[in-house]
């Protein structure tokens, strides 16, 4: 990328991911992008736009339409010394690859007693809010966060998109990168400094507050920040927003510090709440912050039904009002 160090560039998440992958392709010839339609088309979301033109068909590979095949072949490429970056076209299409991811990708380093590493990145555009048809709006991160051997992260800003994709590629462990597809075209500043401002698995406090902590990630970060701002405008409770960024491992110290300060925590996810990240966060917060809690840990998330037809989205997906309602609830204890 042609921007000199120190200068800030305004860029969308989509362009930032593209720029991050371009930097990785330039830095390491072993990096290979692969997926369905990632070549000439640049992916259905254009995240890999122009990369095949600039790096060639050997570096940016249009694969057959077979997700298990993509993941299994990527495992083999890793064993030959490559660093594949795999694009899953939509969240709901990752399941054909579930077996390879859970049985092979997650376990290879463990079962080989550390002799084999799989430096593999699985990019998944996820979440709803775009009026899509069935299987195109899911938040299935809990399946992979539940699986030992995988690292699971999600970006919420262009700057994180730019750096996290590069950090994921540099990791010697398999990383699942969840990309908030409804935020792809939202723009923000990127400081293309010499190094990333945060580690891949560090959480970030996006809004500082005193009364309630919202624990969130990905597409809900923006909604949570809006809720914090609305509460402030209405002279309501002071809301802190923690962008987890990493779902596995969790940045427990940052979560703990925030909730010990505020005494109240709400986990906000697009995903259905049952056995999801909110459940894990509630357990963690209660273990680490028990004597500081003023109220139960609540969850605001998708209802526990299959992702509904998109005309229901505005009610199914957590919005500012549902978050503020939960804030009021924890404040009333």
């Amino acid at each position: 990328m042609g921007t000199s160090a120190g200068a800030a560039t305004k860029m969308s998440i989509a362009k930032a991911l593209n720029a991050g992958m371009r930097a990785a392709l330039e830095a390491d010839e072993k990096v290979v992008l692969m997926g369905e339609d990632v070549g000439k088309l640049g992916g259905v979301f254009r995240i890999t736009e122009s990369l095949q033109k600039d790096f060639g068909e050997e570096r940016v590979v249009d694969t057959p339409l077979a997700e298990s095949g993509i993941l299994g072949a990527a495992v083999g490429l890793c064993l030959r010394g490559y660093r594949p970056v795999v694009e899953i076209q939509f969240d709901g299409f990752v399941y054909p690859a579930f077996d390879q991811i859970v049985s092979q990708v997650a376990k290879m380093h463990y079962r080989s007693l550390g002799r084999l590493t799989l430096p593999l990145v699985i990019r998944i555009p996820y979440g709803g809010g775009i009026g899509a048809v069935e299987h195109h709006s899911e938040s299935n991160e809990a399946y992979f966060a539940h699986t030992a051997g995988l690292r699971v992260v999600s970006c919420a800003t262009p700057e994180d998109a730019y750096w996290m994709v590069q950090q994921a590629i540099a990791s010697d462990d398999p990383v699942v990168l969840y990309e908030p597809k409804r935020r792809y075209h939202e723009r923000g500043e990127i400081e293309q400094a010499q190094s990333a401002p945060l580690g891949l698995h560090q959480a970030a406090v996006r809004v500082t507050g005193e009364d309630v902590t919202l624990l969130t990630y990905g597409p809900m970060v923006k909604v949570a920040m809006a809720a914090a701002q609305a509460a402030q405008m209405e002279h309501g409770p002071s809301v802190e927003v923690v962008d987890l960024r990493s779902l596995s491992p969790l940045d427990v110290p940052v979560v703990t510090e925030s909730v010990r300060k505020t005494g109240r925590a709400i986990a906000v996810t697009e995903a259905q709440t049952f056995l999801g990240m909110g459940a894990e966060l509630a357990a963690t917060v209660q273990r680490e912050c028990f004597y500081h809690l003023e109220a139960p840990v609540l969850r605001v998330g998708g209802y526990n039904i299959p992702y509904p037809p998109s005309r229901h989205e505005e009610v199914f997906l957590p919005d500012l009002d549902r978050i503020l309602h939960a804030v009021d609830t924890v404040m009333s204890y």
Binding site: S68, G69, L79, P96, S103, Y110, L113, G114, P249, V252
Partner: protein, 395 residues
């Protein structure tokens, strides 16, 4: 022509060139064979001719080495079985009957060629230099794979059927990217072998691997040991035409070889590996063989197959036929065979002793290698377990 159209319109397509397989021991006219069940050299045929040159440089020493491999591999397998029965191993998947298929394939590979096995490929492991003792750890429960895959060019056993076919294909795609095909340098050009069984051919991953290999012209050889039983399910529950015939639908050659004939398996595999190393793409080999034992030590084949079928295959034993050939050609004598028997006894003793002495791992080790880089969640639990266990020591 009109007959064909009527046939295809009135029902599913039928492979008219495939003889009905009423006799499951009959590989049919397409099967490549050089040594028949009685150890007689088979007269050259149109089917075997393309492969015969691959035996031209096989010396008398090579023939004796093949026989030694077969005998020692069978002994490794017998010892694994016995160790399970004695409670030293939790499970053992026997390769009994499939020695020639595996040794023929394994000896056709060069050191740089990489093998991706299922979990019954003890004979391929042997050929790739894996110490048989190191195969035992996973069946004893002390590890999930105790050999160095990269050093041996023999990947860890893969238990989820078919997963490894894709790993082999991806590895082969990497070989092409590295420029390690078609250079003409015998030490550089590399091929990959993917092993599975007849049951594995039904898996999605198997079929996806064949698609990926075809469109990338990957230097990979798919080696299907058709041992006729996927636990309790015979071939007709897995496919309706020969495994080798399905290759054509993917766009590359398929060949059926007598998997109980080590010479034929060796020749056919060499040809396929050469093709791969030249950059001419994948080949599917169906090694027609038989699982003489149970699926694993946990299985009871008397529930689903008749002994008469096993007897038919016993008459086609891969070791008996090569011994008959070597004796008839006066390439070995009884003293040589006796010495080999003693070598096998010593190997078995070493395996048994090493297995019995294999230490249980420290429990703290179960937290190791979950990740290549530090992970606070794993570290936390490892610490908690250590503290918990230390609490008992103080009492």
């Amino acid at each position: 022509m009109s007959d064909t159209e009527v046939a295809s319109a009135s029902g599913p397509p039928v492979a008219t060139d495939e003889p009905p397989q009423v006799d499951v021991t009959d590989g049919g006219p397409d099967m490549v064979q050089f040594l028949d069940a009685d150890g007689q050299r088979v007269s050259p045929s149109e089917v075997s001719e393309p492969y015969s040159s691959y035996l031209d440089d096989v010396t008398e020493d090579d023939l004796r080495a093949f026989y030694r491999d077969l005998v020692l591999v069978r002994r490794v397998d017998a010892e694994g079985f016995a160790l399970q029965r004695q409670g030293e191993l939790g499970l053992w998947p026997s390769l009994l009957g499939q020695e020639a298929a595996q040794v023929g394939a394994g000896r056709a590979m060069r050191p740089q060629d990489y093998a991706f096995p299922g979990y019954r490929e003890h004979g391929v492991a042997w050929c790739k230099g894996v110490d048989p003792v190191n195969l035992l750890g996973m069946f004893r429960g002390v590890n999930h794979g105790g050999w160095d895959a990269a050093e041996n060019h023999f990947h860890l056993y893969t238990i989820v059927i078919g997963n490894q076919m894709l790993h082999a294909t991806g590895y082969a795609m990497g070989v092409t990217r590295d420029g390690a095909v078609g250079t003409g340098d015998p030490d550089r050009d590399t091929a990959v072998m993917a092993f599975t069984g007849d049951g594995g051919t039904a898996q999605g991953d198997y079929n996806e691997a064949l698609v990926f290999a075809a469109v990338t012209q990957a230097p990979v050889v798919f080696f299907v040991q058709n041992n006729h039983w996927a636990i309790s399910e015979p071939n007709d529950k897995q496919f309706t035409i020969g495994v080798y015939q399905r290759a054509r639908g993917f766009g590359f050659p398929g060949v059926r070889v007598d998997g109980n004939d080590v010479l034929a398996t060796y020749a056919v595999t060499r040809a396929a590996l050469d093709r791969a190393r030249l950059g001419q793409g994948p080949t599917l080999i169906e090694a027609f063989t038989y699982r003489m034992g149970a699926h694993t030590t946990s299985d009871d084949p008397t529930k689903y197959r008749i002994e008469a079928e096993v007897d038919l295959w016993r008459a086609k034993d891969p070791i008996d036929r090569l011994r008959a050939y070597l004796l008839a050609q006066e390439l070995v004598d009884q003293a040589w065979l006796d010495d080999l028997g003693l070598e096998a006894d010593e190997l078995a003793r070493r395996i048994r002793r090493s297995c019995q002495q294999m230490p249980d791992p420290e429990h703290s080790a179960m937290f190791e290698h979950v990740y290549a880089e530090p992970h606070p969640g794993v570290e936390r639990e490892a610490r908690e377990l250590a503290e918990y266990l230390a609490g008992f020591e103080e009492d």
